[in-house]
């Protein structure tokens, strides 16, 4: 007898189940490629356990998206004001959108470049990002034939997979916006839930863990009211507020302690430098076949070759990675300097380049996107309040912001002395006309 339900063992969610039609997506070449894309790029050079791949993360996102869908569309707990937005339980539409959501969740990362987020902006031609590649793959001939068999449309999958920021061809209804929020939402997106839990597990750090079972059980679609305007969004029962706090704190700690660890970031920059030299014209090709042929393994092979051969393109950044001779941290933002000049790191970078030469200095910066700390909460007496009214913790979760300047290790001692002597002058805001 042909087995219709397939089970995959997963360290985070125990079993992930999918049916034979869904298995065709799993078996497709674009999805199998994710087995060879590290979830956290070169982070394993610092946290040796962090060798997991986009493949298992994508399965985890599908699993969590289904769990959230089943909870929030349960008619027994639907809030009266949003009932009309949700397809009737077990109706054709209800089942259709569950299937679309699962496939969108499974494919949400399918367009990732090798080593995940490493320098995507610098290494793709103007107008391209991994979300656009994701859209192209979902609409490719190979995937279209699978969607046809599953009886869902590629546009619906694509829309939910990349969300409103990247899907510009049609507008999002309230229902589609909620479904997209399940995957990519700022407060309760399951993409983030899975990567926090999974990255934390593999890296061997505890910061990313939170009670996701409780959190998902208490999620609700609730009306978000704002001065005469009402929209249905993902919110939470008051009983789940503490787990929501722990999710958002987990995000803060994982970003500051793991994702933006300064050494992890400088390895990413050296890898970007290598790829700039190694790739034809310094960019990844965006044609589908070219994209599918490149993965972390093909690039690592070239990286090791270049590290051993001074005549090959990208030798210097390659040897810095392979021989662990990375640039050292010279400066990072701090509240005192930021108060003086919000772009203090940029000023230090510019001054350091003038002093030590462009080739000996690197910079990195990141600021948290979106917010996610404000969402509706339904209290035990059925009032709907803002999370910020109910939680002092959420009001005070810091925003993640990172600014680093790195220096060639051979110049580190000189640069440190130079920085100490000149920092106050360097970070002074220059006259306005110089900023034009």
């Amino acid at each position: 007898m042909v087995k219709n339900i397939h089970e995959i063992r997963d360290p985070i969610h125990n079993f992930i189940r999918l049916d034979s039609n869904e298995r065709k997506v799993l078996d497709s070449r674009p999805f199998q490629r994710l087995r060879y894309i590290h979830q956290l790029g070169l982070t394993y050079l610092l946290y040796p356990g962090a060798t997991h791949r986009r493949f298992e993360h994508s399965l985890g996102v599908m699993e969590l998206a289904s769990r959230v869908y089943d909870v929030i569309t349960n008619p027994a707990i639907l809030h009266d004001t949003v009932r009309d937005e949700v397809p009737q339980f077990n109706s054709f539409n209800h089942k259709y959108w569950r299937q679309v959501l699962r496939m969108a969740a499974l494919c949400h990362d399918i367009g990732h470049l090798p080593f995940s987020h490493t320098a995507e902006k610098e290494l793709l031609p103007e107008g391209w990002n991994h979300e656009r590649i994701t859209l192209e793959i979902i609409r490719s001939a190979e995937m279209e034939s699978i969607w046809k068999e599953i009886k869902i449309t590629s546009d619906d999958v694509a829309k939910l997979a990349v969300g409103p920021k990247y899907f510009r061809e049609s507008y999002f209804s309230n229902w589609e916006a909620i479904l997209s929020e399940i995957i990519t939402g700022n407060s309760f997106g399951v993409d983030r839930m899975d990567y926090l839990l999974r990255d934390s597990h593999h890296a061997g750090v505890a910061y990313g863990k939170f009670d996701h079972y409780r959190l998902i059980d208490t999620l609700r679609i609730l009306p978000k009211e704002e001065d005469g305007s009402i929209e249905p969004v993902l919110g939470i029962e008051e009983g789940g507020l503490h787990t929501a706090e722990s999710l958002l704190l987990a995000r803060y700690f994982m970003y500051t302690q793991l994702y933006f660890h300064s050494i992890r970031r400088i390895y990413d920059i050296h890898l970007q430098d290598f790829l700039k030299k190694w790739l034809p014209d310094g960019y990844f090709r965006t044609a589908l076949l070219d994209h599918l042929q490149l993965n972390d393994n093909t690039i690592l092979t070239e990286l090791f070759r270049a590290a051993d051969d001074v005549t090959l393109n990208g030798h210097d950044p390659a040897r810095r990675i392979v021989n662990r001779e990375h640039f050292k941290l010279l400066y990072q933002r701090n509240p005192r300097d930021v108060n003086e000049n919000p772009d203090s790191a940029k000023a230090v970078f510019k001054a350091a380049c003038d002093k030590f030469g462009l080739n000996n200095v690197r910079k990195d910066n990141y600021k948290q996107r979106g917010n996610g700390h404000e969402f509706p909460v339904i209290t035990e007496d059925k009032q709907i309040l803002s999370s910020l009214e109910l939680s002092d913790t959420l009001k005070n979760v810091p925003i993640v912001a990172v600014d680093y300047v790195f220096i060639n290790p051979e110049l580190y001692q000189d640069a440190k002395k130079w920085k100490k002597e000149n920092i106050q002058t360097i970070i002074l805001l220059k006259k306005e006309e110089n900023h034009e």
Binding site: K165, Y171, P342, N371, S386, E432
Partner: protein, 181 residues
């Protein structure tokens, strides 16, 4: 315009809206920035898309978060039915002083937008901003009725009378703004 110059324009917009009695939630700032950028061609560089409640910029939303990280603004929770306000912090004063010539350049534009939209509710701002979006992006040179129909197609919760009124008002606002360019 560099990032900090853009930030001082937003800071000034927030201060002006607050001073004129606006509750100044993120939606207010989103819509007011959209009007400012589109009516006066101020090169703030934000890309707006038509989202659930009219034109919305994810870039601007990210920039507001970045401004919180840079200690220029902060969230201030408000009682129901209002979402949190965004208010400027003391640290913003020195940046505004530093970029006083940028502020001077756009001051009358900021005041124009503040005066037009300071006391509007979120739903009203959504209609007006959508009317501007329809006029500028989708159907320039089309009749008022055509644009009103377009609004109700995009936003089914807006009725035709509200859409017509929004188109009529936005045409007046565009005319007024052009006189001030």
């Amino acid at each position: 315009m560099n990032r900090l110059q853009g930030d001082v324009v937003i800071l000034s917009l927030i201060d002006n809206l607050k001073e004129k009695g606006s509750w100044c939630g993120e939606t207010h700032i989103q819509k007011a920035t959209y009007f400012l950028q589109e009516l006066f061609d101020i090169p703030l560089g934000f890309e707006f898309i038509l989202y659930k409640h009219g034109p919305f910029s994810f870039d601007l939303s990210d920039e507001l978060t970045a401004m919180r990280a840079d200690m220029l603004i902060k969230l201030q929770p408000q009682p129901r039915p209002y979402g949190p306000s965004l208010v400027t912090r003391d640290g913003s004063k020195s940046i505004k002083n530093h970029f006083s010539s940028t502020l001077k350049k756009y001051d009358s534009n900021i005041k124009f937008v503040t005066n037009k939209f300071r006391d509007r509710g979120v739903a009203e701002l959504e209609r007006l901003a959508t009317a501007l979006y329809v006029t500028l992006e989708i159907n320039p040179n089309k009749s008022s009725e055509f644009r009103a129909q377009c609004i109700i197609e995009l936003k089914p919760h807006v009725n035709i009378e509200e859409a017509r009124a929004a188109v009529k008002e936005i045409d007046e606002i565009i005319r007024d703004s052009q006189k001030r360019k």
